[in-house]
């Protein structure tokens, strides 16, 4: 009788811990592309709506073969690099000042908050007057676009540095500069890096806006030109390049994080 009552304890745990499986992502991608390919080939998707993925791939191959890929990529990359380096480094500098000094904080936070929602394309005509139509205005636009999010991320990161570590530094009589260099900056690094992810994504997005201004070559100019001609293959080829660029820089920052932040759990 009692034997019939003996039974294993029911299991009720597990779940709520989704894991990303690499393969599935690829499969979804490939399926999606295959579907579009099939749709465009059969005409079920009109060629005004989407280009044939294989045509886009061909366009990319041609672009690479003819060397034009590099012709367009090189100026864009250098604009992105110079602009982002300027914007991010200024942003980190200002962010740290905001994080450390009450007066700077009080003066600049409202300014940055007001600057943040200004669409950079709206300022394009001004940028021509301020910086000319050459590279300077492109650098400036990308720098401005990356500056504000970097500032916000950086001062947030400085604010989040564990105050007990700072009190520890003071209690051992470390100088102000030592505390900033050895405690505040390394402690803010994770936040700064994750802010950089967003900033650089914004930088890539702004490439197109920047190259609205008198750029003959560049991925943004290529896309704009394709858009003007309603050449969907080239338009998508350009978009694929930008998207790849975004995924790539995000991956690079990921590598940087694992390298610089090995100390994190």
């Amino acid at each position: 009788m009692s034997e019939t009552h003996i039974r294993p304890v029911p299991f009720r745990g597990g779940g709520f811990r989704p894991v990303a499986k690499r393969g599935v992502g690829l499969i979804v991608f490939v399926t999606l592309l295959a579907l579009i390919e099939w749709g465009t080939r059969t005409g079920w998707i009109s060629n005004l709506t989407l280009p044939q993925p294989s045509d886009v791939a061909m366009t990319l191959v041609d672009l690479a073969r003819s060397g034009m890929l590099w012709t367009h990529l090189a100026p864009s990359l250098s604009r992105l690099a110079v602009g982002a380096v300027l914007g991010v480094s200024a942003g980190i500098g200002v962010g740290i000042l905001i994080g450390l000094f009450s007066h700077v904080r009080a003066g600049l936070i409202p300014l940055v908050a007001a600057l943040f929602p200004i669409p950079k394309i709206a300022l394009l005509p001004l940028f021509v007057i301020w910086f000319g139509i050459d590279e300077a205005s492109k650098y400036a636009l990308i720098a401005l676009g990356t500056f504000t999010p970097t500032v916000v991320a950086t001062y947030g990161a400085v604010d989040n540095v564990d105050r007990t570590l700072i009190r520890m530094g003071q209690s051992f009589g470390l100088s102000w500069l030592s505390i900033v260099r050895k405690i505040v900056l390394p402690g803010a690094l994770p936040g700064i890096l994750s802010g950089m992810r967003v900033s650089i994504a914004i930088g890539i997005i702004l490439l197109v806006a920047a190259e609205m201004l008198g750029a003959e070559f560049g991925i943004g100019a290529y896309i704009l030109q394709a858009g003007a001609l309603y050449d969907l293959e080239r338009l998508f080829a350009g978009v694929v390049i930008l998207s790849a660029l975004g995924v790539l820089t995000s991956w690079v920052i990921g590598r940087l994080e694992t390298r610089l932040l090995r100390w994190r759990t």
Binding site: P125, V128, G132, I133, G214, E216, A221, A228
Partner: protein, 309 residues
Amino acid sequence: NTAINVGALRFTSHAASFVAFERGYFAEEGLDVNFRFFEAAQPMAVAIASGDADYAVTAISGGLISLAEKGAAKVIGGALSEEPGIDGQMILASNPAFEAGLTAPAMLDGKSFAVTQPGSSFHYMGAKIGAAESASLSYKPLQKVGAIIGAMKSGQVDAWTIVPHIGKALVGGGAVQQIGMVADYLPDYQVTTVFTSAANAAKERARTEAFLRAFSRGADDFNAALVDKIAGEDGADDMVKLIHKYVYADQPYEKASKSIVNGAMRLNKNASLNMGSVSDQVEWFKSEGLIKDSITTETLVDPSYAEMT
């Protein structure tokens, strides 16, 4: 030699500069010309103001007038103009609108009309045509010619005006229908003008005159070869080849030459400027509230360089 920057769009209407450069007319005047290419007219006007370009050719737009009002730019001569009898800008209707009865400009009332931006030359033409037909139009700003073409093809806007080399290709492909000519409504329309910074106009007289002389020689060659067609087949071919270096350079010659020939419109002789058309345009901008009321043609034009007709 003095080095100057000349702003240009890769359009046939800018051919005078290309011809003057290729045939050495600029060099003969002692000018080292360096072309700066733009995607649209508006940034080119701003570039003149910022000093990135010295001379350029563009339509009279609200932006140009505003810059003139700020003392940054001056119109010094005329370039492209409409002339009855020569294929000029076309009035187009989208296929669905055409089928629904928009077969002539007289039927424009209540239709939508594509413009790049409010205050652009498209807006002016639409307004003038509308006024003449006493039709009320709704204007759709679409920023880019490419976007407008997309919208016309898919029937999302009803009507548009455009230069002949684009219009003829579209009509030829059956994507849109032609319903009239701009020249019928604006017979002496001064489409584009030569302009420079106010500083150049005031202080660099010798250089500016040299530029205009060379530019006019280029315009004369162009008119002779492609508008009046008095230079013969070979002359026309040479001219098309010359222009092809700058315009549609990424297309094969056969295809490009058709567009170039289609796009040939009269360039004003000796850069003379049709003041009547200019003041009509300025008045229209004022009436639309796009520019300040205090602006006059004197603000815009420096009449001391070219003949004012």
